[in-house]
Symmetry: C3
Subunit: 470 residues, 3 copies
């Protein structure tokens, strides 16, 4: 068996002087509480504090980073116990699933998943040998036994992880009962929601009309008028704020925005509520609604997040059998300069608005996003996202945006994950990479050391708290 | 107060062997005279040698790198004394402006502006403490006092900066009186102009027709015929050459070129001179005129520069209140392969033509620009421009273009600035980054040391002089 | 005269610890046999083992990397002896050609050509002084003398280069006689062909119809029916497999694929066989045929390679006088996500298919290719290609794809060259760069050392052999 240990210098540049500076910087931020302002953990975990089922259900079945890589190398999703849309059975033995994972663990060499998982194995479960076929059973038994103990229930882990604040993401029809249960339990930690209205803003959703009807019904608003629909948003935003939300999130296909006249948007609303519309009309509706969301954000103070540019569920066969979010989402080219202009023309200079932009197209970091964020008061840049939430991705982000947008137009780190156990690992990677980047600037005499210490704190903690008003 | 000093190893790679090589290379080029073949200094400074007004008017108000960053973090342009289009008043107290700048100086951490400014503060004004609120008054007083002395007048600074040759940029209607005054003053330094005919080549300019009329009038040519319009260009090019110009500069929205037949362009000229034309017709006119400019360059020997791909004045509110060039310009994707083909089909193989290409879209460095410049005799690559005139930008440029285009298809450094005092700082950054890049190649045994010394000289001095025929 | 020697640490990172790891890794792979699964050497060399003519005909005239750079700096192709389309004479003195090359050898500083050439000069010909005008004659004489000896005939070099397997590329009309001659000679080394059917799949080829007719004629199939045309492909694929082929190669303008119904493709086939079709129809035919090729690959086990995205022969004047492949090919933006969907919908989840993707647009590495290859079982990523077959290109490839696709969705190195003598140099560069990349991961504690040794072997040898089924 091979030893498994996390090296204290991991992710720091190898060059001695730079590494020493990185170490010193990291020492001041490694134990800071975690601010997790954008993610997808399940609030039910924290509300009811039930134990996690077993190692495979916790670490493999819900983690699309993991099973997409296994699938790419010929392990069928059926063999990994991924549930099917029609309920037809797939592998049901979690030990068999874990074995297959262990047999292919070498595939993750050099990937962030590998780093996150090794962190979880060592830091959360105390394992000290590497995962491979020979240790698969040891792993399974160790993790499974731990999960049955009180120390590995969600709230205990949450406290152990030193999370100061975490945001989940809920849809506009969510009754927010889990968040209510958390508050009423008197647990006293900061778990807040975020308002993600995509399902009632996207006419391309096959169940859009039905959802908008339910949305207006649950708020007691008139679905027959655009004014009623807008009031439904306002009411639900208020509900979300009452559940602690400080932000909205928008996962549109593109960053397109539009500002229609009142008669135009009323007519378009009537049309999208009647039935199928063209792709252009659906885009126009989404684009106009982003502008409405910006207006409401100015009014109610919620920070706005835009996550555009993904081709969801590219693999038809996987979508048909296993549903959405199964590792088949592929990035698309981004465009922000033209797309955001209507919104920016109205609100870009308004310091009350904070619009945080994310992209999966790294080409726009230096060309579009940094120049925009380095000019418009309302714009900030979210951290490297999804495929780019990785050491090289983080390095490219800082190298590409800092010189034009500086550090203070960025907003710290988001883990953006439903993999609860990986949250400390992800924040640790971000803190290490940021310290490494700052260390390089210091070692190259492009930044003074005292500034680097201030920035390390800001990037690890302060900027996220401030930008998200947490 | 925190000490401010420029570290002698700044911008060199931290790794010891590489840094030592970089130091040795830099030592041979640090004191070379500055060749500044493309920029936007005001020739009136050198013609009349008046003192600069005060620290804020010199270093903040005209520097869009500076005030765009401040604006992005909520400092209104009004508070920074930026003059308005309608003359309505903004902050008029230069000390108050300077204070606001000092209070936000931390925003520039990690940006090239910070490096340039610290260079100016220490090397030009002898300051040795860092700018922060506590030192704002000291800074203001020190700089203000210096500006009142003869040593800080434009010509004294020019000589102190060791500028061997500098090009300004003038429009086609400019009478070139300042350049005349410089020549007639017998000062004996090389300040030349460059011909930038955009205003009379761009039908999208709202005052295009009026400008073309003035252009033909000032040259005594017939505005009613395309032939007359072309002759006006030829005459003005001759005027500019007489004022020392060795280059033209073209700031088009795209790199589009076109070659129309004589009847086609005559008809199009008549149309653009009649009134508003479509976007496509305006693009066609600009594109054809680039080809005419290339032809004239072959005839008169002027080097041609193309700076495409910027969305000018993206922020409507800023444009309306403060006018153009106020930090709201945003890059756009570039395309050169299709765009330049008509021009290259005619003149790309003609060694008499030098067409220097610039881009704000770094994606095209390796994909389009290096392959084109590594093939066509007429093409050369300009240095990293504007947002990319920065350490990381320079590093990416060399890493992306060198392997396909080599060093000798590039043309040294351009400061491209109206911030006169920053010129030595900018050239110093470029020399350091180039030496660092060469040092890495030597340290990795990809280049011999004697070649690196030759190249350091070429990149710092020789290539610019040669490419621009200065 | 300046000494010429290859430094044993060349291309390794300069940082001491990282370099030491790179050295250790490289020591285990430097002598591995070469697997060259994709290239353009001439099988006639190996079939008939004739001596190469002279230094210039061997190293300059056929190497578009070399003469494109010379041309870009004003050396006319005529002066380099490049043969013309119409047979009109160009420089015929190989010594004069070699002299011109030597006089401009400094242009290659920092390019991969320089590294490959120096490798050939020292390792193949034993030269120990640098090429420059003063040594041009020494070089010419040394190389010329060597070429006249048996040790420098193709087979001797092949064996000296330790090539375990090499694939050439032949068109669909090639009688494969050279490959037959190699087999029949009993030489007993692995020289295989690859099936590149572009000429009979691309209606934009001016001689397309004529070629398809010959193609059907040589296979005895009915050119009048699409079924006959498909059977001709099947027969020729079988011929190629008999000549050792394990792969097909497709050099399309884009990655576009399409799946037409049988009546639709039959009608389109009839149309393209009648005469000129629109650009869209030609694209549709090529796109559908890629899907047919994927189907056949599943049936016959041939690995499929797609090399899209090049504007061939951009320079009209060079094309007219010197023909294709003369250094005037320029990359174009790539798009794979939409383009490949029809093919992937049919066969993307089929583990029997291996489709290896190449690109000249590095923007798609992290955005499109790594996410696709990290999901679809049928997809693998080819190595950095052509302009990017270079140290920085290789570094960018690994940095951009590894975190999402891992190492095992890549396929080792391709030299893709007709420059036979450069093959060991190119593989050496790839091995060194991969070892350097792995060393960085180890030095930054992102990869364990034992894994790095395994991966170094896989990237240098194992993955190519496995992916190409050699």
């Amino acid at each position: 068996m091979k030893p498994l240990r996390l090296h204290p210098d991991r992710l720091f540049p190898a060059e001695t002087r730079t590494r020493d500076i990185a170490r010193a910087l990291y020492a001041t931020v490694s134990d800071l509480p975690i601010i997790s302002p954008h993610g997808h953990t399940d609030p039910a975990w924290f509300a009811y504090n039930e134990p996690f089922a077993n190692p495979s259900d916790l670490l493999i079945v819900p983690d699309h980073y993991v099973f997409r890589m296994l699938m790419s190398q010929g392990v069928a999703l059926d063999q990994l116990g991924i549930p099917t849309v029609d309920g037809s059975p797939t592998e049901s033995d979690p030990r068999a699933i874990w074995s297959r994972f262990a047999a292919h663990y070498h595939l993750f060499a050099g990937t962030p998943s590998r780093m996150w998982l090794d962190y979880v194995f060592t830091q959360v479960f105390g394992l000290d040998v590497r995962l491979e076929p020979a240790t698969a059973a040891l792993y399974y038994d160790t993790i499974d036994a731990a999960l049955k103990t009180p120390d590995f229930r969600p709230r205990a882990l949450f406290e152990r992880f030193n999370i100061e604040a975490i945001a989940t993401t809920e849809g506009p029809l969510d009754p927010l009962l889990h968040h209510k249960a958390i508050r009423e339990s008197g647990w006293g930690v900061k778990v807040v929601t975020a308002y993600r209205p995509d399902p009632v803003m996207d006419p391309d959703d096959p169940r859009f009309i039905e959802k908008v009807k339910a949305f207006c019904a649950m708020t007691g608003e008139d679905v027959g008028s655009f004014a009623g629909y807008l009031r439904a948003h306002e009411k639900r935003r208020a509900d979300f704020r009452a559940a602690g939300a400080t932000s909205t999130d928008h996962g549109h296909p593109t960053a397109f925005t539009a500002h229609l006249s009142r008669p135009e948007i009323e007519a378009l609303y009537a049309k999208v509520m009647e039935g199928p519309v063209s792709a252009a009309e659906a885009e126009l509706f989404r684009g106009h609604m982003l502008v409405e969301m910006a207006r409401m954000s100015i009014e109610d103070g919620m920070v706005m997040q835009l996550h555009p540019g993904v081709w969801r569920s590219h693999n038809d066969a996987v979508l048909a059998r296993f549903g959405r979010d199964k590792g088949g989402d592929i990035p698309m080219p981004g465009e922000f300069v033209r797309a955001l202009k209507p919104l920016l023309d109205l609100y870009g200079n308004d310091p009350r608005l904070t619009l945080i932009l994310f992209t999966l197209d790294e080409d726009v970091y230096a060309r579009e996003l940094a120049p925009l964020a380095g000019h418009y008061p309302a714009l900030k840049l979210g951290p490297p996202w999804w495929f780019h939430d990785s050491p090289e991705g983080m390095r490219r982000f800082r190298e590409n945006v800092t010189e034009t947008a500086g550090f203070y137009n960025t907003v710290g780190f988001n883990d953006d994950t439903r993999a609860f156990l990986s949250i400390p690992a992800r924040h640790d990677v971000a803190r290490r990479m940021d310290c490494g980047f700052l260390a390089r600037l210091v070692a190259e005499h492009r930044l003074e050391e005292d500034e680097a210490f201030e920035l390390a704190h800001a990037l690890s903690y302060g900027l996220a708290k401030q930008a998200y008003r947490l």
